[in-house]
């Protein structure tokens, strides 16, 4: 199927996991559409400054083809001394952010992009400076420039809320704009990336190959281990490094432990957002066992630091294994009891049912991943479709619900939690003896590698281009929230705005609180509210503003 679509393109690599094809810009849209129709969804895109190698910029589009259990990477290169590439966003909605990111960071111009606005860089970043180009030093601190005019015109009838993007629950700074009509949401827009820390640049300049796993781990404090695994897998893929069996089992165990801690955390936060604080406390008590396991195995409660290229750094000896199993049983019993009881509480269930609906077809177009996709009836799971680590040897089920609403997302996570418990037990029981790490490898120069993992929030994709001298040339991590966030406007549309917080939380965004929005009347474009979501809801909902 895929090969037929790619007919006439230069195939750079074709094995049982990945197909890389160089596509001429004119055929880009046609082939992208073809791939989508063949059942592949858009996974991520990476812009690369390849001028030191061939005087061009390149854009890599990654498609996930579950039916054939492979990833297809389309490579588009700009003509020499030009910056223009055709945008594939008009045919594939999911590519929008990736292309905007490449515009921001590299200055590639995408022809025909419907929304060519700044996505990542701060407002006061000067125009025409592109941090990911190779001639930009990673530690250059630029003086603030005047924000571009015309983005936000202050008007006397606009209510501005001067409070910063901070909020008492779990908080990461972020910003939403909701367009409402009455108290129904018509559209929403996201402006985030407040915590852009420049780590892609950092990885390719200051860091060495084996330091990056620790950087990757700090992309997110909740799902760090899956990022570092994905990075290691990408390098191992590029360099063809064999990873010892035991190391792969230990990676699997850590990934599942991370999923448990993340899901239990999410259940707690969901309870908190629904106003049920006791549920939050109970769930976080159960979660404490998982944190203990992580601390026991890796020496730290979070940021496990267990992955390194070629294997893992710490073993799980028999003594620890027994202790882990003991703690797991306690955690499983405790969390099952709590969650069963929480699900029985009528008012909580009522607030989740038929709320935040994401239709299956739309989800496919955007390329949503993880529990969000599975709650919309999309049967996808990297662990099953593209087995990595030791997942190929384990016996597990992928829960799929057809409710398409917040409750389904809750239930998907509920099922996954208990699948994880069983997977950890299986992995611990079947763990083979042997080496932990393979250090006998050579890193090739300028070779593309792809690492994919299933994070608690969905598929994480890491693309790495290696460079000799113990360096990476380009590293592009794509977190799962990145693919899920564009689905929020669709989930919000047509809903009562009072349900917005739980809808936004339902994708388990890496920022876990759901606040700071602008509510804009769709008819005259007036900003009615800017500030915390809930008040906006009350205010607009009560016809006050």
């Amino acid at each position: 199927m895929v090969v037929e679509v790619l007919k006439g393109c230069k195939i750079l690599r074709h094995d049982d996991r990945v197909t890389v094809a160089e596509v001429s810009p004119e055929r880009a849209r046609e082939i992208a559409k073809g791939l989508f129709n063949a059942g592949c969804y858009y996974s991520c895109g990476m812009g690369v400054d390849e001028r030191p190698v061939n005087m061009r910029f390149a854009m890599y589009h990654v498609f996930n083809c579950e039916a054939e259990r492979r990833h297809v990477i389309l490579k588009l290169t700009t003509p020499t001394n030009e910056l223009t590439l055709p945008s594939i966003t008009p045919v594939i909605e999911g590519a929008s952010w990736s292309e905007r990111e490449a515009m921001d960071m590299l200055g590639i111009i995408f022809d025909g992009h419907p929304e060519p606005e700044r996505l990542i860089l701060p407002e006061d970043w000067p125009e025409g400076v592109y941090p990911l180009r190779k001639d930009f030093p990673y530690n250059k601190k630029l003086p603030p420039a005047k924000p571009k005019e015309g983005r936000k015109k202050p008007r006397p009838d606009i209510i501005e809320v001067p409070l910063g993007p901070y909020h008492p629950t779990l908080h990461e700074p972020e910003y939403f704009e909701l367009y409402v009509k009455g108290d129904k949401i018509v559209d929403a827009k996201y402006r985030g990336f407040h915590i852009h820390r420049g780590m892609e640049k950092l990885a390719e300049s200051r860091m060495t190959l084996n330091q990056v796993p620790f950087l990757a781990e700090r992309i997110c404090g909740i799902c760090g281990c899956t990022h570092s695994t994905a990075y290691c897998q990408a390098v191992e893929d590029a360099a063809g490094i064999y990873v010892p069996e035991r190391a792969r089992y230990i990676r699997t165990i850590m990934l599942e432990i991370e999923r448990l801690h993340s899901h239990l955390l999410w259940f707690g936060v969901a309870c908190h957002l629904l106003g049920f604080d006791s549920g939050f406390m109970h769930l976080w008590r159960a979660r404490e066992y998982i944190m203990d396991i992580a601390e026991l195995i890796t020496g730290n409660r979070k940021t496990y630091g267990i992955n390194i290229i070629g294997g893992v750094r710490r073993d799980i000896p028999e003594k620890k294994k027994r202790k882990v199993l003991e703690l797991l049983d306690l955690a499983e019993k405790d969390s099952r009891e709590i969650l069963d009881n929480v699900v029985k509480m009528g008012e909580l269930k009522e607030r989740m049912e038929n709320v935040g609906v994401l239709p299956k077809k739309k989800g496919r177009e955007i390329g949503v991943v993880g529990p969000v996709a599975r709650a919309s009836g999309i049967d996808t799971d990297v662990r099953r479709d593209h087995p990595y680590a030791a997942y190929g040897d384990l016996d597990f089920e992928v829960p799929v619900y057809k409710g398409e609403d917040v409750l389904s997302r809750f239930l998907v996570r509920y099922d996954e939690t208990f699948q994880s418990f069983s997977m950890i037990k299986q992995a611990l029981d079947n763990m083979p003896e042997g080496e932990l790490i393979n250090e006998d490898y050579e890193i090739p120069s300028f070779k593309l590698g792809l690492g994919v993992t299933e994070a608690p929030r969905g598929e994480d994709v890491h693309l790495v281009i290696t460079w000799g001298e113990n360096k990476v040339y380009r590293w592009h991590p794509r977190a799962s929230t990145y693919n899920n966030l564009p689905a929020i406007p669709i989930m919000l549309r047509g809903n009562d705005i009072a349900d917005a917080p739980i809808i936004i939380a339902s994708i388990d965004p890496c920022f876990s609180c759901t606040d700071h929005v602008s509510i804009i009347d769709s008819e005259n474009g007036r900003v009615l509210w800017r500030g915390s979501l809930e008040e906006g809801i009350r205010r607009v909902g009560n016809g006050k503003a």
Binding site: D277, S278, H282, E535, R539
Partner: protein, 293 residues
């Protein structure tokens, strides 16, 4: 009726209300398998707040903003002059239940005015929620008070206490329990101060001493509502009455905080809808009272 007794009541309220809050925090902690703060923690918080500087935000209407907290606390404390608390003394006059209702309203209005004048949108939203909730709640309160007044044939609180054993007055008292819960801004109904949503609403811009006064007014308001309810049933000599009173307060706060710890928060819409339905019950109760049952 002695002024000294009333003053003792007021002092008791000021001292005991934060302790009761401490007890509730402890019980909630118990239900969440935590150790919880010491009983006197609320007092320690208040003392600290009294020592902290108060700031007036630059965009606020200064005098209105500063006036809010003292009025809120003073109005609640004044109400303790009419309502017997630990001692059965009160300044009774004809229609003091009306004065009591006005004082309750005045407290809420002072808080919301302070919130509106602070210039902070969070506070304005909180105040707005508070007002809409208060309106809904006032409606049912009016029915219940009317029912009680009709069944006791008096507007004087001291004639209402203790309640006569009649169907209407008992139902009225039961409905009053629910209202006490709502007016005490407890979890399903704490939309105005919802910490995770709007950062304590009207209180957001207050700091230091002003915040302490507002907090104290909230605690004393809860105590006041408890006191009114308990007075419907308290009988006997001063000593027995005082013992039952304190035990009653503790039992009520244990029950209320248990409910509070096992509920999710309403949306304002839901809360108002609940109160609307509830006021129908109030009206029925009033009809019962009019019919003389």
């Amino acid at each position: 009726m002695s002024l000294a007794g009333c003053i003792v009541n007021v002092i008791f309220a000021v001292i005991f209300a934060p302790l009761l809050d401490g007890l509730e925090r402890k019980i909630k902690a118990k239900l969440q398998t935590r150790q919880g703060p010491p009983l006197v923690q609320t007092w320690l918080d208040l003392i600290k707040l009294f020592r902290r500087p108060s700031t007036t935000p630059s965009e606020s209407v200064g005098w209105l903003f500063r006036l809010g907290p003292p009025i809120a606390l003073a109005s609640i404390l004044t109400a303790f002059f009419f309502v017997p608390a630990i001692l059965p003394d009160s300044m009774r006059f004809w229609g003091d239940i009306i004065a009591f209702l006005y004082l309750m309203t005045l407290g809420t209005v002072a808080v919301t005015l302070g919130g509106f004048s602070s210039g902070n949108p969070y506070a304005q939203i909180g105040s707005h929620r508070e007002i809409s909730l208060f309106m809904a709640e006032e409606f049912s309160l009016a029915f219940i008070i009317a029912a009680l007044a009709v069944s006791a044939k008096s507007f004087t609180l001291s004639n209402l206490f203790p309640l006569p054993f009649k169907a209407s007055s008992l139902i009225g008292a039961l409905l009053f329990v629910v209202l006490v819960y709502v007016a005490g801004a407890r979890v399903p109904f704490d939309v105005a101060e919802a910490e995770p949503e709007i950062v304590e609403g009207p209180l957001i811009e207050y700091s230091g001493r002003q915040l302490a006064l507002l907090k104290l007014s909230i605690y004393t308001k809860r105590l006041l509502l408890f006191t009114v309810f308990l007075n419907f049933f308290l009988r006997g000599t001063s000593a027995i009455r005082a013992t039952y009173y304190v035990i009653g307060l503790i039992v009520l706060s244990v029950i209320y905080s248990t409910i509070e710890a096992s509920c999710g928060r309403f949306r304002t819409k839901d809360a108002v809808r609940f109160l609307k339905r509830f006021s129908i019950l109030g009206a029925l109760c009033w009809l019962l009272a009019v019919m003389g049952w």
